[in-house]
């Protein structure tokens, strides 16, 4: 059973407040490019929103792919997070993830993915349309 965020995209309006608060709470800046969740608005065709974020899947191929064991277990939440100080930015996790759930920080110096905000995901709290749940 995935421990990550669940998204009901039928409710999504593409406002990006999830990405905005994610970047602010992780980096101290409003900067959706550094967010751990992102929304693509794909219009006019097919006219829908797509959301990318780590699903915290049970298989976690990223953990196996990481050559320096920088993706570590948060024991209290039972999920894996990227220790950016140990990440070498090789991109193996990005390549192996089947969910497009992690990507490189714009600085190019480490990969980023959802860490569930230590159990209190800010995107879930801010989403005005109830798209996201844990």
């Amino acid at each position: 059973m995935s421990k990550g965020l669940k998204a009901d995209l039928e409710k999504c309006t593409g406002c990006q407040m999830c990405a905005l608060i994610c970047s602010a709470s992780h980096t101290g800046k409003f900067n959706p490019s550094e967010s751990r969740i992102n929304v693509e608005d794909v219009f006019p065709e097919p006219g829908e929103f797509r959301m990318n974020h780590c699903t915290h899947c049970d298989e976690h191929p990223c953990v196996e792919a990481c050559p320096v064991e920088a993706i570590k277990l948060n024991e209290s939440l039972g999920i894996y997070y990227v220790d950016k100080d140990e990440c070498t930015a090789c991109g193996a996790c990005v390549d192996v993830c089947p969910y497009n759930g992690c990507w490189m920080d714009p600085s190019g110096s480490y990969s980023i993915k959802c860490d569930l905000c230590n159990g209190d995901p800010q995107c879930v709290e801010v989403c005005p349309k109830g798209v996201l749940t844990r």
Binding site: E10, L20, I21, K29, F30, N31, D41, E48, V126, K129
Partner: protein, 615 residues
């Protein structure tokens, strides 16, 4: 970068010499004028030579954000184009939501100041503090949808945000717009023509520089609380969440102010085919929000059957439903979806375009124009199949479109034969969708707006035709306009969306939290008064005065024909009385010019020496 909401940088682009430079934002001006409208007005007043031809290389095309844009302060996704309008000759500030505004900030700029004319078509690419003038050969001639797609491929950024002109702006049509994120338009006043006159096809941006504030934890806490209590749960916003602006179609029809068949009536027998219920039941696909908006008033709409099947667009919004629907005698929302998709693709202001097509329809029915003028089309009111061909005809200056492309006033002057009496515009800018013959407050709002007939500076219709006040009693309307213009002047400087009913104290709270500057209701009111006086001074410097704050003759001479407004008009006596009272409330002389004392009181003493009427 200081942690005060601003990037602290302004980009200057000289297209003639293909030169780009970055300079620090004038922080003193930022304190006095904030951003958006105010800051854009200050730079324009200081830098544009009076009397400049708006379509000449000397005109300044500027694009501004504000300190709150790109933050979590709700409903602050907007940008503004500030320039001298080629349609009206006045100051012009034209706004759009979507995603382009925040991307300018993330790219590292508070504003862009563009002058000159490129030797060949170009577009501007902003990328993390860098800017580049690029060859537009692959996008010139393309519509705005195709332009966005091609620019994303050329820049390799699949989520690059693009603001571009369509064929209408390329042909320097004076009712052309700048379109971003497919369906959002800095629509009014001929912004597209200014781009076109400079050979500037588009501005595209993708940034990852971020926006900083003094106390992020404090701001997030406050913003989360306000998003809930002041936006989502605010009862004033309920209609915007459930319906969006189309909710106004029925309200206007009931009040007798829904423009119908080129402003010859205020109620429309086909209103049920273009109202909010029609949208929800016939073309609704999903809600589509602008960046950072918890309301999501926008609707992505798609036609499911009939001759316009698969046409898709956002909206249509109320103004479009009124002017491109009832005002053209169109009874089916599907046709309006197709028409507004065409306007967005071609890069046309749907308010002015709806007015232009409605006037052409009246001229056709009266025999002044013939099928030949429309390339063989039967352009009677209500002929949806013919009317959807008009945006392309206007944008590309084909047939009668060659004249309509420059708006109703100029077209009518060239057509003659009584056409001038059918123009419904102020200073050459066509009316939005509220007939002043059933809302006398709007008569004053249109006449005194700083960019021609506009509903976004004062909106007294809220209290008269839609509210409990007598819509024909001029008393108190001047005060309402002054209050609204003060509030919107500062609101458009942050830049908040129109649909956030944000109070002065809350604006002050947000401003302080983002910039670290102290603020209060009175502080923001004083800025609002300063900014409105500055745009007035700009227009006076360009030669505008009381003689221009007028309404078309039709408002007094031609009463409406049915419903609540049957037999109603705007009396000249009432109008002049309101106008005099309005000037007096602002502290302007009887000719509508700000006095020296007034300018000094609002903090504009520095511009007094540069206004010839005060010498």
């Amino acid at each position: 970068m200081a942690a005060d909401g601003y990037t602290g940088k302004v980009l200057r682009v000289d297209l003639t010499n293909e030169k780009i430079s970055t300079e620090p934002l004038n922080k003193e001006w930022a304190k006095q004028y904030v951003g958006g409208k105010g800051l854009g007005a200050k730079y324009l007043f200081e830098e544009l030579k009076p009397g400049t031809d708006p379509l000449s290389p000397d005109n300044i095309l500027s694009v501004w954000t504000g300190p709150l844009v790109g933050t979590l302060v709700p409903l602050t996704s907007r940008y503004v184009i500030v320039t001298k309008s080629p349609l009206t000759g006045t100051f012009l500030d034209s706004y759009a939501g979507g995603f382009f505004g925040p991307e300018i900030k993330y790219s590292g700029f508070d504003g862009l100041i563009i002058t000159g004319k490129a030797p060949k078509p170009v577009y501007l690419w902003l990328d993390d503090g860098k800017a580049e003038i690029r060859d537009a050969k692959n996008i010139w001639g393309k519509d705005t949808y195709a332009t966005e797609e091609i620019v994303r491929k050329e820049t390799g950024q699949k989520m690059a945000r693009v603001a571009s002109i369509g064929p209408a702006g390329e042909h320097v049509g004076l009712i052309s717009s700048v379109t971003n994120d497919l369906t959002r338009n800095a629509g009014r006043g001929g912004t597209g023509a200014v781009f076109g006159s400079k050979n500037l096809k588009a501005i595209a941006a993708k940034g990852s520089l971020g926006v900083e504030v003094p106390d992020m934890d404090g701001l997030l806490k406050m913003a989360k609380e306000m998003i809930r209590t002041d936006v989502v749960d605010n009862p004033d916003h309920a209609g915007m969440i459930t319906d969006g602006t189309p909710i106004l179609v029925e309200m206007s029809n009931d009040a007798g102010i829904l423009p119908t068949r080129n402003w010859n009536d205020g109620t429309f027998d086909g209103h049920e085919g273009i109202n909010s219920e029609a949208i929800k039941s016939r073309v609704f696909v999903r809600k589509r929000a602008c960046f950072d908006c918890a309301l999501a008033c926008g609707t992505w709409a798609k036609v499911r059957r009939g001759i316009f099947k698969d046409s898709a667009s956002e909206g249509p919004e109320y103004e479009t439903l009124g002017l491109c629907g009832s005002n053209c005698g169109i009874k089916d929302v599907e046709a309006v979806v197709k028409f507004v998709e065409e306007c967005d693709r071609e890069g046309l202001d749907s308010i002015s375009t709806g007015n232009a097509v409605a006037m052409a329809m009246e001229l056709y029915e009266k025999g002044v124009l013939s099928k030949d003028d429309f390339g063989g089309l039967d352009m009677r009111f209500g002929n949806a199949e013919a009317y959807v061909k008009m945006p392309a005809m206007i944008a590309r200056r084909q047939n009668i479109g060659a004249l309509l492309a420059d708006g109703t006033k100029r077209a009518a002057q060239k057509i003659g034969k009584g056409a001038e009496e059918m123009v419904v515009a102020v200073k050459g800018m066509e009316y939005p969708a509220y007939d002043p013959r059933g809302s006398i407050g709007m008569a004053l709002a249109y006449a005194t707006s700083d960019r021609g007939a506009c509903h976004l500076r004062a909106w007294p219709v809220a209290n008269d035709a839609y509210g409990s006040q007598d819509p024909w009693n001029p008393e108190g309307k001047a005060a309402t306009c002054v209050e609204d213009q003060t509030r919107t002047s500062i609101k458009w400087s942050f830049i908040f969306c129109d649909f956030y009913g944000v109070s002065f104290p809350n604006m002050a709270k947000y401003y302080s939290a983002v910039t670290g500057n102290p603020s209060s209701e009175e502080h923001l009111r004083s800025l609002g008064r300063r900014i409105w006086n500055l745009t007035r001074a700009f227009n006076v410097r360009e030669g505008f005065a009381r003689k221009d704050d007028t309404l078309p003759e039709k408002m007094a001479k031609s009463p409406l024909r049915s419903g609540k407004t049957q037999g109603k008009s705007v009396s000249k006596e009432s109008f002049e009385m309101m106008l005099s009272e309005y000037y007096s409330l602002w502290g302007w002389d009887s000719d509508g010019k700000p006095t020296k004392e007034t300018l000094e009181t609002v903090g504009l003493g520095d511009i007094v020496p540069r206004l010839s009427y005060l010498r």
